[in-house]
């Protein structure tokens, strides 16, 4: 089937990304313009803009299924791309699109539903013989069950929400006496975040690496993996830096884990792009965690080392095409690192620093790819995420990639908001990062400061402060020679003033 026009149910950087590939493929794009950011970059790049600035509804449009379907139909779109976040993993939304004859650029609603429910996903993985952290078969109903299960598995264990991730509804329990309290907190949090208090329990793996595999499948049942991504640099479950490939995997482990990823995807008849997440412990044991049924933020690093445009593949697969390559055709070359440059204050614990970007200059070197959704003059608004740009650096090997990272980071120029650049400048010089031995505990445990103190930068700042003080206080503002502009005073006025007394 033909896709002539795609409705992008998203904003910011990913909307710009999708527009870029669609343009390459001669497909028209439709986006939504909102009152919160009417002059956003993605709005000016799309072919057709639906003006939603007068929307009276309470929920943001990107979460409003009915409205989105209406817009897609009104603008005669053949397909919808949900991007990531918002409704990208909402099976109901996918279903609604299909019911309205709009192609959903993503997997089947059934795959979304099954993989979205962590308990079902675990069951499937078990059936497929995929290594997993030992844990509960289904959801845990109450604290007693939880305690019993935990005793069986052995502490420490982790309580997780069945219906969502991102750290919410998640609690590590190290001692039996904490179980009751943690269980209640976790299920309450899960209910608040995902409208579903269901939780399950798993063995907690200490200080693992987070390794995920990129999956691509077509509607004919062909599934390949495009290698792994190393995503262990996280803070409070938010990824900051990702790389492809990972220094922890050799070819054997890669093939093994990749085949497991393909197997679990096949178990739900997966097609389109998806990601299977594993935890890797210090003894090279890996455990399936979950599958994300959408394109991910960090997809560019995989694109850089495989030469495959993932958005393009998604669109082709949605059109009904079969994959033009098999597993043995997938070649990994070079090393890619992505730094997420966010508008956050590293000195205040990564607190968001919304504001207007006064100047934005991104490096234009050949080894740098900058994916961004903003430009000079854009505002980073607190209602959306704080992403400014993804800086993707590619080198011949990891050492080369890190070296080029240092160069690229020094060539980024952003004024108007505080950014996470100081963090990355420190990270690429950190020995544990350089030797690859970091785990997911790296930021919380191995770093005592989030930025480097450059002595001479501080001195330059001190010089500037001193200069300001000197200008304001020590350089006398010499009044004009005629100290009172009194020879200009009109005789009328002078006469009156003197005679009034």
């Amino acid at each position: 089937m033909k896709i002539r026009r795609i409705f992008i149910a998203n904003r910011g950087e990913i909307a710009v990304r999708i527009i870029s590939t669609a343009r390459k493929m001669n497909i028209e794009t439709v986006v939504v313009r909102n009152a919160t950011e009417p002059d956003a970059l993605y709005v000016s790049l799309a072919d057709i803009v639906f003006d939603n600035t007068e929307d009276p509804a309470d929920i943001p449009v990107f979460l409003n299924i009915d409205r989105l379907i209406d817009i897609a139909l009104e603008t005669s779109c053949d397909a919808v791309h949900p991007g990531y976040g918002f409704l990208a993993e909402n099976a109901y939304f996918a279903q609604k699109c299909i019911e309205n004859n709009i192609v959903f650029i993503g997997p089947s609603p059934d795959a979304i539903y099954k993989m979205g429910n962590k308990t079902i996903a675990r069951e499937l993985a078990m059936k497929q013989g995929i290594p997993m952290a030992m844990g509960s078969q289904g959801n845990i109903g109450n604290e007693e069950e939880a305690a019993a299960m935990a005793k069986n598995i052995g502490y420490p264990v982790i309580i997780k929400a069945a219906s969502g991730g991102g750290g919410r509804g998640m609690r590590i329990v190290r001692k039996p006496e904490e179980m009751e309290k943690m269980f209640l907190i976790a299920s309450k949090e899960a209910e608040k975040a995902f409208n579903d208090p269901s939780v399950f329990i798993e063995k907690y793996i200490e200080n693992p690496k987070h390794i995920e595999f990129q999956i691509l499948g077509d509607t004919a049942g062909n599934i390949v993996h495009l290698g792994e991504r190393e995503c262990s640099i996280q803070r409070k479950h938010q990824k900051l830096l990702e790389e492809a490939p990972s220094s922890a995997l050799d070819d054997d482990l890669r093939n093994l884990m990749g085949s497991m990823a393909v197997r679990i995807a096949a178990a739900v008849g997966y097609y389109s792009a998806g990601t299977v997440e594993f935890l890797l412990d210090s003894e090279r044991n890996f455990y399936f965690m979950e599958m994300n049924t959408r394109i991910q933020v960090e997809h560019p690093v995989t694109e850089m080392i495989t030469g495959i445009d993932l958005i393009e593949q998604q669109i082709r697969i949605a059109r009904g095409e079969t994959l033009a390559f098999g597993q043995k055709d997938v070649r990994i070359q070079g090393w890619s690192i992505e730094c997420r440059i966010n508008a956050e204050d590293v000195q205040a614990g990564f607190a968001p620093d919304p504001g207007k970007i006064e100047k934005l200059i991104l490096p234009s070197d050949s080894f740098v790819r900058a994916d961004t959704g903003v430009r000079s003059g854009s505002s980073i608004v607190s209602s959306y995420d704080s992403m400014i740009a993804k800086l993707i650096i590619t080198g011949t090997d990891r050492k080369d990639a890190i070296r080029k990272c240092k160069l690229a980071l020094d060539r980024v120029w952003i004024k108007g908001v505080k950014t996470t650049l100081p963090f990355f400048r420190m990270l690429v010089r950190n020995p544990k990062f350089i030797d690859g031995s970091f785990t997911t505990a790296f930021i919380e445990k191995d770093l005592d400061k989030y930025y480097l103190n450059s002595e001479y930068e501080e001195m330059l700042a001190a010089w500037l402060a001193t200069k300001l003080f000197e200008d304001e206080n020590l350089i006398g503002k010499s009044p004009a020679a005629d100290n009172g502009n009194n020879s200009d005073m009109s005789p009328w006025l002078l006469n009156k003033r003197i005679n009034q007394f």
């Binding site: 590293v346 000195q347 205040a348 614990g349 607190a351 006064e358 100047k359 200059i361 120029w413 952003i414 004024k415 505080k418 950014t419 650049l421 100081p422 930025y451 450059s454 001479y456 930068e457 501080e458 001195m459 330059l460 700042a461 001190a462 010089w463 500037l464 402060a465 001193t466 200069k467 300001l468 003080f469 000197e470 020590l474």
Partner: protein, 176 residues
């Protein structure tokens, strides 16, 4: 009798971690490192905005806030807070520190009953006298509560979105 006391000859920039940088006056556009002097220039243009030129490299700078002799400078994405002291005022600081031994805590209390709309500072944040700490809505009016002292925030008992009574403790500040 004309007593010629020399004008202020040098200035010290004290960082928030008590590092001291000394510059002689009048301030030159050259900074000495070891045996060599390098030129430093403050510039501003359309493309880059305000920046400092040093050793052939540009660094983005921003003056975030300033008050009397305290300056917060954002230099290459990291912010620094400096107090500029003359040699005498440095001595004075030492003298005063000895005499007031104990650190004072300033208690910020609600001046009237109302609702806390927004808390504008975090624990540990440096505050300057006159800077806003939180917004209290009372009698249908928005009120900014300002810091009466220079110091840093040690505790924030106030919670956003809650109602408070007159004299409820909102913020504790350790005075500089």
């Amino acid at each position: 009798m004309n007593d010629e006391k020399p004008a202020i000859k040098k200035l010290h920039a004290l960082s928030s971690e008590n590092r001291r940088f000394t510059f002689t006056l009048p301030l030159r556009h050259k900074i000495r490192i070891g045996k060599r002097s390098y030129e430093v220039k403050l510039k501003s243009d359309e493309k880059y905005g305000t920046h400092i030129l040093w050793k052939n490299r540009k660094y983005p700078v921003e003056i975030i806030r300033s008050r009397q002799n305290r300056y917060e400078i954002l230099f290459n994405d990291i912010s620094y807070i400096f107090t500029i002291e003359t040699p005498f005022s440095l001595k004075r600081l030492k003298v005063l520190k000895q005499s007031t031994g104990k650190a004072e805590t300033e208690l910020i209390k609600a001046p009237m009953p109302g609702k806390i709309i927004d808390i504008l500072v975090r624990e540990g944040a440096t505050v300057l006298r006159g800077e806003p700490l939180l917004i209290l809505e009372a009698m249908k009016m928005q009120n900014e509560i300002h810091s009466p002292v220079n110091g840093h925030v040690t505790r924030i008992p106030a919670k956003g979105g809650t109602n408070v009574m007159k004299d409820d403790l909102l913020i504790e500040i350790k005075v500089e």
